[in-house]
């Protein structure tokens, strides 16, 4: 009796499980690629985090920008594969000989999604709004244009509408990366009517001229944009819309892609690349690098105030090993701070190369034949340029030990870490940088000029010759000449070795095979204007 009931119960359990399985399988209508029409359909983009807000001038994070770039456009734009400037909402421009006046001719007949005309007045209103703001409201504006309206460092003297389709920028002094700054996502042009209408809530209702219109935001979950049927460039966009879906975990995001629930994902674990390559339904996209990871020295602190010590350590970092072990091959060894996507990278610089004997020799010359003890600071968070700061620190620590340098790994909470680096409290540290506007100035001046000590020059590197070159490059309009200046600066920096530039990482994306004409942009986000799914 007892046994038979038991068996029956077990049977019921098994049967019900089986039935549940069958039932679901008959209901599951294949989710794979519901794209229809000609290259259209809605593309689902899986990513690791949600946007913070959708008023780009207000934000600093890539997850916000990748959405606003679908909805809004900038005066100038970037080429698909690098950061050379191309026309966008401005059809053409003229630069005065003194480099202080920029006259832009705007595209005609462009309308914002709310029906407002895009014209010179709209451009003026956007700039007025930003320059009357403050660091809490429009943080990027001050970083790129030297402050706000009444600040002495503010570069823009005046923005004036000459006529309906011409707008003139007068600068207080020449700013070489000006056109590149205008191409940055935070300076996309919004509909002035929408800004007035929504006020503080504009960040939830973005209105621009872009290929897609904002539709809906379910916080923490999805943001959807739909095709702008009246888009000013004929035949574009090709997709019917894009939906951004947050899936925090990298492995789950890949699972969702494999299952066909999403069409394109970012943040692919390098270790998953082989799995993706072996799946014939999927393809890999590689984003060109616009970042640098580096091992910096505080040149004011002993023993790193000695050039020979810094050079010796430069010989002790095995970049190829780091790339193999921690980036799974998805990075280039860095010989200079500049990645190859940025004009002005000096390709002639010979990297130090791994060489223990040379390192020992240099240490002897510096007066440390038996090495020394040091603190090595490691980043507590993962960033695209440095997926695992702790592990990389350990690898470097092991190599340093070979010549008697005993490195003690130290770390802090991320906000504190940055603050202490800025104050120069760290003797030697791992950190990195992702470019903003794609200009060499944004790397070399921002990170290694004597003016930026106490800011982002954590190495506190101070070189008069470098400073002279960088300042000259800032006020030179001729791009060819600027590149020469930056190349010279890189030579001096290489010799002084305030950092060991480690790698330029190339973030990996994966998508279904039907995705065509998708080019990940080095700056970290891009419009899906040309993308189609067939």
């Amino acid at each position: 009796m007892k046994r038979s009931i038991l068996t029956a119960l077990a049977l019921i359990l098994v049967l019900s499980l089986g039935l549940a399985g069958c039932k679901s399988s008959s209901e599951s209508t294949g989710g794979k690629g519901s794209s229809g029409g000609d290259g259209g359909g809605v593309m689902i983009y899986g990513r690791g985090g949600d946007a913070v807000g959708l008023d780009p001038a207000h934000e600093t994070d890539g997850e916000s920008f990748i959405v606003t770039e679908q909805v809004m456009e900038t005066l100038t734009g970037y080429k698909k594969e690098n950061t050379d400037v191309v026309p966008e909402l401005a059809k053409s421009w003229k630069i005065s000989d003194d480099g202080k006046t920029y006259t832009f001719t705007l595209e005609k007949g462009v309308k914002f999604h709310d029906g407002t005309d895009f014209n010179a007045d709209a451009v003026v209103k956007n700039f007025d709004r930003w320059m009357n703001g403050d660091a809490a409201k429009f943080p990027y504006y001050a970083s790129m244009f030297g402050g706000y309206k009444n600040d002495p460092g503010h570069v823009i003297k005046e923005v004036k509408a000459v006529d309906e389709n011409t707008v003139k920028f007068t600068l207080k002094r020449p700013q070489a990366p000006f056109l590149k700054n205008l191409a940055m996502s935070p300076f996309a042009i919004s509909s002035p009517a929408a800004i007035d209408q929504y006020g503080d809530k504009y960040g939830e209702h973005p209105v621009g001229t872009g290929p897609f219109k904002f539709k809906e935001w379910k916080r923490g979950d999805t943001i959807s944009v739909v095709k702008n049927e009246k888009y000013w460039q004929k035949g574009l966009p090709k997709l019917d819309g894009v939906t951004f879906k947050v899936i925090k975990d990298n492995s789950s995001r890949l699972n969702a892609l494999t299952k066909g629930e999403v069409d394109l994902i970012d943040g692919v674990n390098p270790s998953d690349l082989d799995k993706i390559k072996s799946d014939k339904n999927l393809q890999i996209f590689e984003r060109p690098s616009m970042n640098v990871a580096y091992f910096g020295f505080n040149v004011e602190k002993a023993p790193f105030n000695k050039k020979e010590v810094r050079q010796a350590i430069s010989h002790l970092v095995n970049k190829d090993e780091l790339i193999k072990n921690f980036y799974n091959g998805t990075a280039e060894p860095a010989a200079t701070p500049l990645p190859s996507s940025i004009a002005g990278q000096n390709k002639d610089i010979q990297d130090y190369g791994y060489d223990e004997a040379k390192a020992k020799e240099l240490l002897k010359k510096a007066g440390y034949p038996n090495g020394f003890k040091m603190d090595l600071w490691a980043m507590p968070v993962s960033r695209p340029y440095m997926p695992n700061g702790q592990k990389i620190a350990e690898a470097i620590q092991a190599n340093l030990a070979k010549v008697g340098i005993k490195a003690n790994i130290v770390t802090f909470e991320w906000g504190t870490y940055l603050e202490k680096l800025r104050k120069g409290e760290s003797p030697a540290f791992l950190i990195g940088w992702t470019g903003d506007n794609g200009d060499a100035d944004n790397f070399l001046y921002a990170l290694l000029d004597k003016d930026t000590i106490d800011s982002n020059n954590y190495a506190r590197y101070k070189s008069e010759p470098v400073h002279k070159l960088l300042i000259e490059a800032q006020s030179t309009a001729d791009e060819g000449k600027r590149e020469e200046l930056y190349k010279k600066a890189q030579e001096i920096i290489h010799e002084d070795a305030p950092w060991v530039p480690l790698v330029h990482a190339k973030p990996q994306l994966a998508g279904v095979n039907s995705i065509k004409d998708f080019y990940p942009h080095p700056k970290g986000s891009q419009s899906f204007i040309d993308v189609s799914m067939k």
Binding site: D249, R253, A256, E261
Partner: protein
Amino acid sequence: MFSYTIRRIGLLIPVLLGMTFIVFMMIRAIPGNPAQLILGQQASKEAIETLTKQLGLDQPWYSQFVHYLTGLFQGDLGTSLKTRTPISDELWPYLAATIELSLVAILIAVVVGVNAGIISAWFQNSWFDYAVMLIALIGVSMPIFWLGLMEQYFVSIKWDLLPTTGRDNIRMPVEAITHLYLLDTLLEGRFDQFIEVVKHLILPGIALGTIPMAIIARMTRSSMLEVMRSDYIRTAKAKGLKMFWVVYKHSLKNAMIPVITVIGLQTGLLLGGAILTETIFGWPGVGTYIYEAIQSRDYPVIQSGILVVATLFVLINLFVDILYAAIDPRIKY
């Protein structure tokens, strides 16, 4: 009974106030400046200072606390430092997602856990009993992260039965009304979407429900064993009652009191503790919401988020206490 309920609700206020104070002090003890984390690595010193001032973070802690409390008493949960959106606007969709998932998880846990526990007790020391207890042991110690990824790999990808992530099919999204999608799809009369939502709930529901399921099964078993040794059960058996009724009617009712306590506690825990499940299954729930707020030191969100979850937790336990009286007439308040 009524006065008891009122008294208990009255007691909530000092409890929640104390908790608010502790949370307030704790998050300020963790290092990290919200302004720095909001503005990011590129931010200038001036920008960070300006923002710190604007957010009121340069004020002494007691005036910040008084400011926050004053807002609370006026029904204002504060504004997120990061998104600059009122928390009362932001919170509900996240909370609804978590409530829906937690209810499904606890439903799975109760149905499977209670029955497994009963049958184990009924057939004590049989192979079924050993199997259930072994599975329960594995269940308690199961890493959710691993379980979730395995579910996705086998159930979704290999066998193609259920979706991997999310609350709904993104290619036919649910129109949110109450943000409880099971309810929303029914209100809209979209049964196809309702089924989609149910399918999306199963895997995360199982992942989240595993640990409570195991705990409930063990609790039910031990409680049932105790009851089944009592005299009145022997009497019931002696008078020739069918074993099924002895177990499910006579024993269960008395054995349920400790089990219900556990169910109440577990439900409360699920509300705040679903972070891992939410992360793996792309679930936009309140656990992730608070976790991300902690990472960016979004003080008002942490405070108000925990306050709301804690309130729910206490209310569920109050409800459980009241339920005792309904189940067991010997208990009177």
